[in-house]
Structure formats: structure tokens, C-alpha cells
Symmetry: none
DNA sequence: TAGCACCTATAACATCGCTATATGAAGTGA
DNA sequence: TCACTTCATATAGCGATGTTATAGGTGCTA
């Protein structure tokens, strides 16, 4: 009756759960459905995964990471903010393709399991944003930027999941995405001919800071501290 | 045994449901709990509210609207975008005060019932944004703006609900709020008080340099020098 | 062979949302 | 006053859910 005869029970459970979660649009999936499709009985599920949520988390572990950042959907371009857009779109696509799974991950309360998943999603985002920050494209810390972008991404995804697939207007996603990205980025878009900032990014940033300090002196440092700071900054800026 | 003896059963059910939803942090609330606290039996619930979700919707109808836009929390200022900020903050506060109720409303999938609630919340936002549009402060349609702002608002609220109350950082809310508002508004970037938004260029440059140094350490400074340098850099970056 | 983990099945438990049916109360018209 | 209707509540139970106590294999090591 099931088509997973040759796999071990644990893998069959994972596969059955993923299949049912993906196909049953919206409606909850029961453990009995899962075990029946997998061709095992209930205790097998609880032996391997603890409880229903454990199984769902395992499905997510197996699928989410590769789906969002996997090779099929994402190849870094070297331009951080472009990659951030790609991460946003992949996140949205994952949510729309796996609405049930997505709501378990992001729409639920559970203060125990959710932060781990959220932190993972934040990780991708932050990784990219650190590169953006290194290139001087960020006006806030990568952590703050990642949290803000992810929050908006989740909100948009839940919003679009909730409305009928036929009426979905992706302008909402594009508009909100650009809003949060432009709010955390410090400069206008990097132009098409703009050279990617590689190993010299430290120097570039040091020069930029040096120039900025010319016109505005921070109150956080004493004059002696500032003098020494500027000297070191100068040493860094003269590298090449 | 219950404290709602004098009210009619329908009102007792509403009150019991609201009380249980507000207090049982995270865990689902059963119809049996509700009917027991209300001092009635199951069919009474289904007679008045159809099903469990109908009762929850009734609780929301009774509480959400007045909470978000009620007199106690909201008095229009006449400046539409200021009011939009107030709606955002009230929305967030409602979510944090009623996490269980909130997740039923916004974190769930149900494509049948959710859009109605969402549309209601969108209504408040759109109302204000139409005034903003009439005043020439919008660069997109009020509908689009309301959807984008609400989506971000929901995402931020779910994000903050999910993390322990002690660690909640409301900068996430403020930052994201200003991001989406400024993206839909046609005016130059001004905050609530009318001052330009954005960090100074010194801070921007400091953050960029800090991030750049994460991946590449310069050889021009000794480790002790670098340590002190990074500390000062951190102090500068935290200005604002 | 004996023993020992590991894995799985039988069978059931407690609870869930919900309802078929019946009973009481309250008004209405004769 | 007496049916008759209508609304509101209760009794009792259904089917489905997540979960588990118990026991039976299955294969490996000694």
C-alpha cells in the first residue's frame, strides 16, 4: 500500500510525514495518517522521535536548510545584498510550498522549540549581512538587520499563505523586502560596475571611518584615546 | 466554583475563554476547560458559537478591536503617519499581552477564517493611511501600504512573542516599523519628532570597519593594540 | 546456547472537538 | 387553561487524536 517498502522505519516515517505535511494544504496531519502511510505502528514513531513535534522538527531539519540555502535554489553571487534578496525569496517560497510545516516553525508560540528554528533562519541572513557590513553597506549591526529582515519575511510569508493561492499578490513581498533592506543598508545600491570589495575591505572601511572622523569627533573617546585611535587607523589604512 | 454566577451562559463562556486564553501561556485551551470554568456543558457552547473557533473569534471580536483602536489606547492625533505608528505599537502590545489569542489570529493557517481577522486589522491601518494619502504623504496605494505594514507588524510581534519576555529588544520593532513606514511614505525620512532618521556617517563607517575586521585581522597592530582598538571602535559604533 | 540491547507490535488510555437526543423554560394563540 | 412553538441547556456518547504500558521479536556478543 505504501511506496517506501525498502527504507528503514525511521526514514519511512520522515518521508511519510514530509509527504503528508506538504500535500495536506492547511489541515492538520495526524500521527495515525503518518504511521499508516509509513507502514509502521505508533510506538515506532515515539521510539524514534519522542513525540509528534519531534518528528516534525526532524522533517524540518532534513528539509528546511537544504531547501532555503541548497544548491538548487541558491548560489551566492558575491554581492551580499543581492544574496539577501535571494534568501528572502527562498524563505517565502519555502513557506508557500510547505504551509503546514511553515506554520509549525514560525506561526507557533512554543517558546521552547521555536527560537532554535528561528535562530537557524537568522543565521543564514546574518551570514550574508556580515559580508554586507564588511563592504560598508550596512548602517546597523548585522544582528539587528537580520532580525528585522527575518521578522518582516515571516510576516509577509504568513500573510501570503493565508490568502488563496490565486489571489496572491507578490508585490507585497517585493515592496516589504525592499523596505527593510533599504532601511538597514547605508548606501544606494551598488552599481552594476561596482567592484566587489574583497580583501581590501578593511582598508576601505578604515579610510571611510577616517574621513568621517575628520568632520565629526565622537564623544566616547578622550582626546588622547582619539589620537592613538587615529594613529592606528592610519596604520591600517596604509596597508596594501 | 466559578466567579461568573450572575451572568448569562453566553457571556460566561466568553469570559471563561478569554481568561483561559490569556493565562495559559502557550498551551492549547480545551473546550472542556472552558465549559467547566463557565459552569455550563458542551452543547451550550456549540449552540451559541457553532464551534471552538467561533468562540475564539467571538472573544477576539469582543477584545481585539477595542484593545487596538479603543479609546484607552488610541486617540487620533490628526497626523496620519503618527497614528499609524500608534496602531503599530498597540498591535504589538496586544500580541505580547495575549500571545495565545494572537497566535490563533495571525500565526495560524486556516485560509477560511483568518483573512476576515486580518482584513479587520488591515482596516484600521488602511483608514489611517487613506488620510495620509489624502495629505500627499504616501507614494503607494493605501491598500498596498496597509498590507505591507501589517505584515511586518505581525512578523515582528510573533518574533517578540517567541522570545523570553526578559530578553525582548524593542529596537527590532522600532526599526522595522520605521523601515516599512518610510518605504511607503513620500516625505523625506523623518521620525515621529520630525528629525531625520539614520545613523551618522561616523557610526556607519565604524560598523563597517568592525565587520571587516571580523574576517581579516591586520598585521599592523599587535594583539593588545588590536584589542583596545576594537573596544574603542565598539564604543564609537554604539553612538546614536 | 544464553544474555542483552535494540526495535517494533498489540492493545489500550485519557482527552479532544463535537453532536443526536431529550428536557426544561418561556412565550403565544385559542 | 391548554396545547404548541421556540429557545436554551443537559445527558450521554461518538469518533478521532496523541500517547504509552507491556510484551514480543531480532540480531549481536560472549
Amino acid at each position: 500500500m505504501n511506496s517506501h517498502g525498502q527504507l528503514p522505519p525511521k526514514a519511512r516515517l520522515l518521508q511519510a510525514a514530509a509527504e503528508l505535511l506538504a500535500n495536506s494544504a492547511g489541515k492538520p496531519v495526524s500521527t495515525r495518517q503518518i504511521t499508516e502511510l509509513a507502514g509502521v505502528t505508533a510506538p515506532t514513531l515515539y521510539h524514534h522521535f519522542g513525540d509528534k513535534e519531534g518528528l516534525f522538527n526532524a522533517v524540518i531539519d532534513a528539509g528546511f536548510e537544504e531547501y532555503v540555502a541548497g544548491e538548487h535554489n541558491f548560489t551566492p553571487t558575491g554581492r551580499p545584498l543581492v544574496d539577501v534578496r535571494q534568501i528572502w525569496d527562498n524563505h517565502l517560497k519555502f513557506g508557500l510550498d510547505n504551509p503546514q510545516l511553515y506554520s509549525v516553525m514560525f506561526g507557533n508560540i512554543r517558546p521552547e522549540s521555536r527560537p532554535a528554528r528561528v535562530a537557524e533562519a537568522e543565521g543564514f541572513m546574518e551570514e550574508m549581512l556580515e559580508k554586507a557590513a564588511a563592504a560598508g553597506q550596512l548602517c546597523v549591526s548585522p544582528q539587528e538587520a537580520a532580525r528585522s529582515i527575518l521578522a518582516a519575511n515571516v510576516g509577509v510569508t504568513l500573510m501570503l499563505i493565508a490568502e488563496p493561492a490565486a489571489e496572491r499578490n507578490f508585490d507585497l513581498s517585493d515592496m516589504t523586502r525592499e523596505a527593510v533592506i533599504s532601511a538597514v543598508s547605508s548606501e544606494t545600491e551598488l552599481d552594476a560596475a561596482g567592484a566587489p570589495v574583497g580583501a581590501s575591505s578593511v582598508v576601505v572601511a578604515a579610510i571611510a571611518l577616517n574621513a568621517a572622523l575628520e568632520s565629526s569627533h565622537p564623544e566616547q573617546l578622550s582626546t588622547t584615546e582619539l589620537k592613538m585611535f587615529l594613529e592606528w587607523l592610519d596604520r591600517i589604512a596604509k596597508t596594501s
